[in-house]
């Protein structure tokens, strides 16, 4: 019957069969694409990275960035393996904000090294997993040599951590005093969001970021309370404190956009617009009766309602945007109103102590001072042009997140590639020493185990090497296993005079140490911890929690990709 009907059809649309690729990692096309992706992300890594322009080739605006979230959002591939890596890294970034490029580069290096050493995939996977647990175990140890305990009594390390994050994005084009200024502001803003008196559950406040283009970075500032953009001609008489606030999350534009799509039947002669407007004015009346002085709305407010409220001495601000809602709720204690069809219960009103006007360049801001103790602050970011400002805003948000994560785990890792080289040396040493125990557990030969461990360590070192983009060479010292960079224009003789401190700035060059090039084989050794009386004062610090997680994400993603036997693609 079925056959019959098919034969009777005048046209047959042929469905192409799905394409199945066996062992995708051995296909040269996939390898080339992975290599391209690695080179692409590697060149965007670190404070001297090369930037990428993202645009749509039909005259849209150009985004210049070296931030993983921007770059990975922009690239899309028909190759499922690339998409898998991409989404896995993006997921990490959405949770931790930082170390996206680290995870991506490490994962891609692992894959490339795995391809080169030619071991069985299941051995690679097992060894990778084992070494990952070795790394995370070491990083969690009390005496870990590449970890710094953050002391909240002094802001020094916090500022260093913030500065390392901020100066890792060269699109911001910051001078040294500028990045110092922004780092200090970031820490200040972070401290303002930590509540002073601690109730049962600690709830961190929020930082609202406002960007102003065309001013010097040094004009950036942090204010306690909230700053809201206002229409220029805002004027109000002296208001008595505290001011009652109402906050709407629904659109008050007077349309029916909130009811969703679908067909609506209505009787002839009904003027919907004027009926909704009547409803809005009714709302306005009630709010006035309740003594509200500040009328805020996330979305648009109908001009007639605005006019009515302003005439009655209410300050009206519309189009706040969703990002300001949470800080506003925390600051004012108001509950956002999401309907206009019911009378507003008096419990949803919030209050502020008072308001004042602040002028920043062309922007007029209404400054809301909280009525009680809150942990809300506003950060004004200024930069000379839009591209740099956008990146600066992104990087400041990352910094805020990184600083918040230190409250849970008050540690930082040595930056500048030192953690990577240190870990590599540690793992290499450890795996050599415990080779017999490990192989019996993992069920592979000693040679296999050592080869796989070498691939893992080398991948880690490659990430450290990726920080250099100007042709310099990477070195490792054979005492503490820190990372050093030798600029391309310096010859071996000048080495001692020129050599700056190591990547993180903890180890001075004058200490007599043997160094080895990172791409050459050196004898395994156990990296010695730095024994100093005072706590370590690094100049570059990496975030701890994001990096530990990124390490895990990179290894697990690489293992997953190594485990892929077939790729089946529906090409219809």
């Amino acid at each position: 019957m079925k056959l019959n009907s098919l034969l009777l059809m005048s046209r047959l649309v042929k469905k192409s069969p799905s394409v199945c690729t066996d062992l995708p990692l051995s296909s040269s096309d996939v390898c080339n694409k992975l290599h391209l992706m690695k080179e692409f992300l590697r060149s965007s890594y670190g404070p001297t990275a090369r930037l990428k322009q993202v645009h749509n080739n039909i005259g849209g605006s150009v985004v210049t960035s070296s931030t993983s979230s921007v770059l990975l959002q922009a690239i899309a591939s028909s190759q499922p393996i690339i998409s898998l890596i991409r989404s896995s890294i993006l997921n990490h970034v959405s949770r931790f904000s930082d170390c996206g490029l680290f995870a991506a580069v490490f994962c891609l290096c692992l894959l490339e090294q795995a391809g080169q050493c030619g071991l069985r995939k299941n051995v690679m996977i097992k060894v990778n997993k084992h070494l990952l647990s070795l790394c995370t175990g070491y990083l969690q140890q009390e005496d870990c040599g590449c970890k710094v305990k953050l002391d909240f009594c002094s802001s020094q390390n916090l500022i260093t951590l913030a500065r390392s994050v901020i100066s890792s994005k060269p699109t911001c084009v910051l001078t040294e005093p500028e990045s110092d200024h922004i780092s200090r502001l970031a820490v200040q803003a972070f401290l303002l969001t930590v509540p002073c008196n601690i109730p049962d559950t600690v709830r961190l406040g929020r930082t609202a970021t406002i960007t102003i283009e065309g001013h010097s970075v040094l004009k950036s500032a942090v204010f306690p309370g909230l700053l809201l953009s206002t229409p220029e001609n805002l004027c109000f008489d002296s208001l008595c404190s505290p001011l009652h606030v109402v906050l709407f999350s629904i659109s008050l534009a007077g349309d029916l956009s909130e009811i969703g799509d679908g067909r609506i039947e209505m009787h002839q002669g009904v003027d919907v617009d004027s009926q909704i407007l009547d409803q809005l004015l009714e709302l306005g009346k009630q709010v006035l009766k309740d003594g509200v002085k500040l009328f805020l709305c996330q979305k648009v407010i109908h001009p007639v309602l605005q006019h009515y409220l302003r005439c009655n001495g209410v300050i009206v601000i519309e189009r706040l945007g969703v990002s300001l809602m949470e800080p506003l709720i925390q600051l004012t204690g108001a509950q956002p109103v999401a309907t206009l069809h019911a009378t507003i219960p008096s419990t949803v009103y919030g209050k502020v102590h008072n308001v004042c006007i602040r002028q920043f360049g062309s922007k007029t801001m209404l400054h809301l001072h909280p009525a009680g103790e809150t942990a809300i602050c506003s950060m004004i970011l200024c930069h000379r042009n839009e591209t740099m400002l956008n990146e600066l805003k992104l990087v400041c948000q990352t910094t805020e997140h990184v600083l918040r994560l230190t409250l849970r785990e008050p540690f930082a890792l040595l930056g500048g590639g030192c953690t990577e080289t240190h870990l590599a040396a540690y793992v290499r040493h450890k795996s050599k020493n415990e080779v017999s125990e490990s192989t019996s557990v993992l069920g592979c030969s000693q040679t296999e185990y050592l080869l796989a461990a070498e691939a893992f360590c080398h991948s880690l070192e490659l990430v450290a090497t990726s920080l250099e983009h100007d042709g310099g060479t990477s070195l490792i010292d054979l005492t503490h296993a820190h990372h050093w960079t030798l600029p391309s224009d310096v010859t071996e003789e000048h080495l001692e005079g020129v050599m700056a401190p190591c990547g993180c700035g903890v180890v001075e060059s004058c200490q007599n140490k043997t160094r080895s090039y990172l791409d050459t084989k050196y004898a395994g050794f156990s990296p010695a911890p730095l024994l100093t009386a005072s706590p370590l004062q690094a100049t570059v610090l990496d975030s701890f929690t994001p990096k530990v997680n990124a390490l895990g994400v990179a290894v697990e993603t690489a293992n997953l990709v190594l485990d892929v036997r077939y790729v089946i693609q529906d090409v219809n």
């Binding site: 001297t48 990428k52 645009h55 349309d255 609506i264 600029p487």
Partner: protein
């Protein structure tokens, strides 16, 4: 889809693109500007452009780097209205500097560090060589006797402008110090200023706007004259404090009237608008009497909805009786007209458009509708008449209506154009504080350029009065920057050879190359005046620099240099040669600093970029593309 271009660092494609794009503006920088036609090969349309900004606007660059350049220029133009050419040229010149450095194998980080040092030197020179207003006033006073102007200037007044200024300061301080004993502290400060200016009348006065304007006109004398008139008219109308002159740009609007000869260009108190014949008849009826005015920020039509209003798409009416849309509109129109009549409004100004029906209906009731009024103008009229701007005409109420505004027939344009039209002037007799620059030309294509020139001049005056200082013009500041850069470059070279340290290895070289970029700029400006060949221009500049280096002594020296350079390229003022000699040329401080800074920021961004990601599915066949 990822398509990325991995650029060979030795031949940075992005920088080459910036350099090539900037090269197109080489002949358009400087005070003498030639008109250019830009023709669209597809549509065959062409536009007449004059300024660099209009050229790049009409070129519509599509590649990523071109877009970035355009965005930068746009941002600059929005705030300054001049200096786009300087920005573009230097972006190109410094791109070549960066390219040059890359070719010599200097690392990107070193280039950025050294070039940042370079721009700091230049901005520092700007700060140090800027001439304060009071010094300009002094110079102007002294140079009123035109004999031996240059000599006198360079030897006395100018060589020690800073000293003069310092002396003045001292005197003021002493004065207030003495006075403080006698007067209450509340009066002290204001008083002392008055006293000192009374005692030192010729030293403390601010320069006349006309004097400033003359030295800032840069070849646009006519437009500058217009701008000066606007400043003077505004300050008279608003009874401005003379000791604190400023030029509020938001109180100026332009009205472009095609058809009239160019000598009809003028500045008028109030707001001039062009009206159609029908509206003009109403204007004739209501002219010269105090009127009631309503201000509408939206469109005057039934279908208009405010921004952010989403119309319903799936609305169906249950009973399909024929209620046509037109009757709905009529209903609305009747309501609006009735309201206007009730409120006795004779004049509506709207920032948006008005439907033809509204205009006709209003004309019938002798209500004048003026469309497309600038929103800042609306605001000022609102504050001076007491009117409250509303979004919808139906919103109008008694308290929204303003009083005391007049309509006058400014000029009947019917003899100049095919369709007859009339220009009216809307003003309120009191200090409304608005002026209109009426810009006219028989040639339609020139109007845009003339309007741009007016705004360029107006913004130059605005920024000059805001900065309270000017920079020596005619290439003077640039020459000084070149000198400083070369001096610093030399210093680095000597230092490096002494210590043998490699850390600053390239700084000298990069600074030298940056200076070359500025020299290129100076000579390009000289060449574009048409009086020098490229070789001549370069020789003149390098001769001056050599002289400069030889006796590198006093700060006063560079003044002489500028004066000399001015004599040689009197050109810069583009006026009559003998007249040019007596006029000093100045540049705007903030405009120049900002243009330089923006140019270098652009170079930095492009220099650090090594790949572009092309999103979307746009097909492009090009080499160097890689797909992910």
């Amino acid at each position: 889809m990822l398509e990325s271009v991995i650029i060979n660092s030795r031949q940075h494609v992005g920088l080459q693109k910036v350099s090539a794009l900037a090269g197109r503006f080489r002949s358009s920088i400087g005070p003498i500007k030639n008109y250019k036609f830009i023709q669209d090969e597809v549509s065959g349309e062409s536009v007449l452009v004059c300024s660099c900004f209009r050229i790049i606007e009409n070129l519509e660059p599509t590649c990523a780097v071109g877009q970035l350049v355009y965005e930068t220029v746009q941002a600059h133009h929005k705030g300054y209205r001049s200096g786009s050419g300087c920005l573009l040229f230097l972006a190109g010149a410094w791109s070549r500097t960066a390219l040059d450095c890359l070719q010599r194998g200097i690392a990107v980080t070193h280039i950025i560090k050294a070039m940042s040092e370079g721009i700091d030197i230049c901005l520092d020179v700007c700060k140090k060589s800027s001439v304060l207003f009071k010094d300009i006033a002094v110079m102007h006073k002294r140079s009123a006797t035109p004999q031996d102007l240059e000599l006198q200037l360079s030897e006395e007044a100018i060589a020690d402008t800073s000293q003069v200024a310092a002396k003045v300061h001292d005197k003021c301080l002493n004065m207030s110090g003495q006075r403080r004993v006698k007067l209450s502290r509340h009066f002290c400060e204001a008083k002392s200023e008055m006293l000192s200016s009374a005692l030192l009348p010729d030293l403390l006065e601010l320069p006349d706007v006309a004097v400033l304007a003359e030295s800032l006109s840069h070849g646009c004398e006519d437009a500058m004259k217009l701008a000066v008139e606007a400043v003077q008219m505004l300050s008279k109308m608003n009874q401005q404090d003379i000791s604190d002159p400023s030029f509020d740009i938001s109180k100026v609007q332009t009205c472009v009237l095609p058809g009239l000869p160019e000598d009809c260009t003028c500045v008028v108190e109030g707001c001039v608008f062009r009206l159609s014949d029908e509206q003009a008849r109403v204007a004739h009826r209501i002219k010269q009497q105090p009127l009631k005015v309503a201000l509408v920020t939206g469109d005057l039509s039934q279908t208009y909805r405010h921004l952010g209003f989403k119309s319903l798409s799936g609305v169906g009416v249950c009973e399909h009786l024929d209620l046509s849309a037109s009757s709905k509109e009529d209903e609305w129109l009747e309501k609006v007209v009735n309201r206007l009549l009730n409120l006795k409004v004779n004049l509506i100004l709207t920032a948006g458009l008005a439907s033809q029906k509204v205009i006709q209906q209003c004309c019938r009731h002798h209500i004048l509708v003026v469309e497309k009024v600038n929103s800042s103008v609306l605001r000022i009229i609102a504050s001076s008449t007491g009117a409250v701007p509303v979004s919808y005409a139906t919103q109008l109420a008694e308290h929204c209506v303003g009083n005391g505004i007049n309509v006058e027939i400014w000029r009947d344009l019917s003899s100049y154009e095919r369709e007859s039209s009339t220009a009216v002037n809307i003003s309120n007799g009191r200090n409304g504080g608005l002026v209109t620059a009426v810009i006219t030309s028989c040639i339609h294509g020139k109007l845009q350029a003339l309007e741009d020139q007016f705004w360029a001049c107006a913004y130059r005056l605005h920024h000059a009065l805001k900065d309270r200082a000017l920079l020596p013009g005619a290439g003077g500041t640039e020459v000084l920057c070149v000198h400083q850069l070369q001096k610093q470059a030399e210093y680095h070279r000597v230092e490096d050879s002494k210590t043998g340290s490699a850390a600053n290895l390239y700084r000298g070289l990069v600074l030298q190359l940056m200076a070359d970029g500025l020299i290129d700029y100076i000579s390009a400006v000289m060449v574009s005046t048409g009086r020098f060949s490229a070789a001549e221009a370069r020789t003149i500049v390098s001769n001056q620099l050599q002289d400069f280096h030889k006796d590198e002594i006093i700060a006063g020296k560079f003044w002489q240099l500028i004066l000399e350079s001015r004599r040689e390229d009197a050109v810069f003022s583009a006026g009559k040669p003998d007249e040019a000699l007596t006029v000093k040329i100045y540049d705007n401080l903030s405009v120049k600093q900002e243009a330089w800074r923006k140019a270098l920021d652009l170079v930095f961004l492009v220099l650090q970029t090594d790949a572009e990601i092309i999103t979307g599915t746009g097909q492009r066949t090009e080499e160097n593309l890689m797909r992910l």
